[in-house]
Point group: C2
Chain length 235, copies 2
């Protein structure tokens, strides 16, 4: 599971909590270097493995979203790490805007995928992915989930594939995942236009930066302009 500055901690901790029982000793929290990594809400998680020391063969490669998404979409070391491990991983997965980082690494080209609602239809296509409005989207060995709390639904769906459905049900019962939100506001349609505009304002910087980071990764338009290829980008 990738950690990076400005990640959303809940994107990581939801799936980690539900999947840890499957592989307690081989679940790695990977970052550029071992040690604390600050999330976008001020809580730090501790990376247990560096890019260099992370096992080369992974069952599951996982990327969380968060305010720091755009910086990771531009980070050559992160993208190289993801491309390398994804080439051999059994499952290549993300929650929230983590799919934009996978996309920036070229790992979602031609795949059906989802992301946080704020970026799904606007940014994913810039990365060659086919946006799907669903909570969890499987396409081949790519598994992407919608925003933040969708990591719980994602983890149960993945646990069922990694082990079996009864294992997933047991994890769900241990986590008492019988959700009962006190409000109906989990999607723009349910929340209505006023709440959605307020949420969009909060998310505006994230989306704008992600779009900027995605733009140079698009196929070059016919004409005199020259877009740099992902492989040549080092900024």
């Amino acid at each position: 599971m990738l950690l990076y500055p400005g990640m959303t901690a809940l994107d990581v901790v939801g799936p980690q909590g539900l999947l840890a029982g499957l592989a307690p000793d081989t679940l790695h929290l990977v970052a550029r270097s071992v040690g604390p990594v600050l999330s976008d809400t001020g809580l730090s998680l501790i990376a247990t493995t560096s890019f260099a020391d992370c096992p080369t063969e992974l069952d599951v490669l996982f990327v969380p979203g968060g305010d720091g998404t755009a910086a990771q979409m531009r980070d050559a070391a992160t993208l190289a790490f993801l491309r390398d491990r994804a080439s051999r991983a059994r499952w290549v997965t993300s929650v929230c805007t983590g799919s934009l980082i996978l996309g920036a690494a070229g790992l979602l080209k031609g795949y059906r995928a989802t992301s946080h609602w704020c970026a799904r239809d606007t940014v994913l296509p810039l990365l060659g992915a086919i946006p799907v409005d669903d909570r969890v989207v499987f396409d081949g060995n790519r598994v992407t989930a919608a925003g933040v709390s969708a990591g719980l639904d994602f983890a149960l769906a993945l646990a069922a594939r990694l082990r079996d459905e009864d294992y997933a049900r047991t994890a769900q019962l241990v986590a008492e995942y019988a959700p009962k939100p006190p409000f109906e506001a989990g999607s723009p349609a349910a929340a209505g236009p006023i709440i959605t505009r307020t949420a969009q304002a909060i998310l505006d910087t994230l989306v704008t930066e992600a779009r900027k980071a995605a733009a140079p990764l698009q196929l070059p338009e016919p004409g005199p302009g020259d877009a740099p290829s992902p492989a040549s980008r080092e900024d």
Copy 2:
């Protein structure tokens, strides 16, 4: 928000993620000492404040659950910290078996409260609380939530009280909390007897230890036996 060894990280990170926007600079992750605290699934969170340095007046005192519950129910320093801060806090709150720790501190006597399903009806009454089978239970300024993932429902309900319902709805939309579990197994009734027995086996040590930790805190039975009072316990 209390951190302790063997806490369930998701109990902390769900509420932290949804509530951090309300008070980014005054949300403290408190433990016996500053630094990494290992959760019950092997992921560490970092405490930002020690018991000694934690502000004395808190709007919200929060206690997570986890495999380490029983040890905290017996930890004199933790119980003293909770009693002190709770005496002045606006809200005294918990997720999952965190309510057993509040109970061991004597903070739920006579209050309606909930906990993880594995301990709600069996351990809460030993601590003088009145168990309620609900996702989030408000009674006076005590707010307790059911197991693990109930922390999301709890945080939204509390955010509505701390600020207003539109704020909570916005936090819900930012977290895209429109849950869609792939299975129906979030409660013992939904999961059925076989899955429930498997989950109970996983949770057995936690429940047994919590019951042992709670037993000496009960009112002494009439007779020759002498149960130590909470105030005299230092083990």
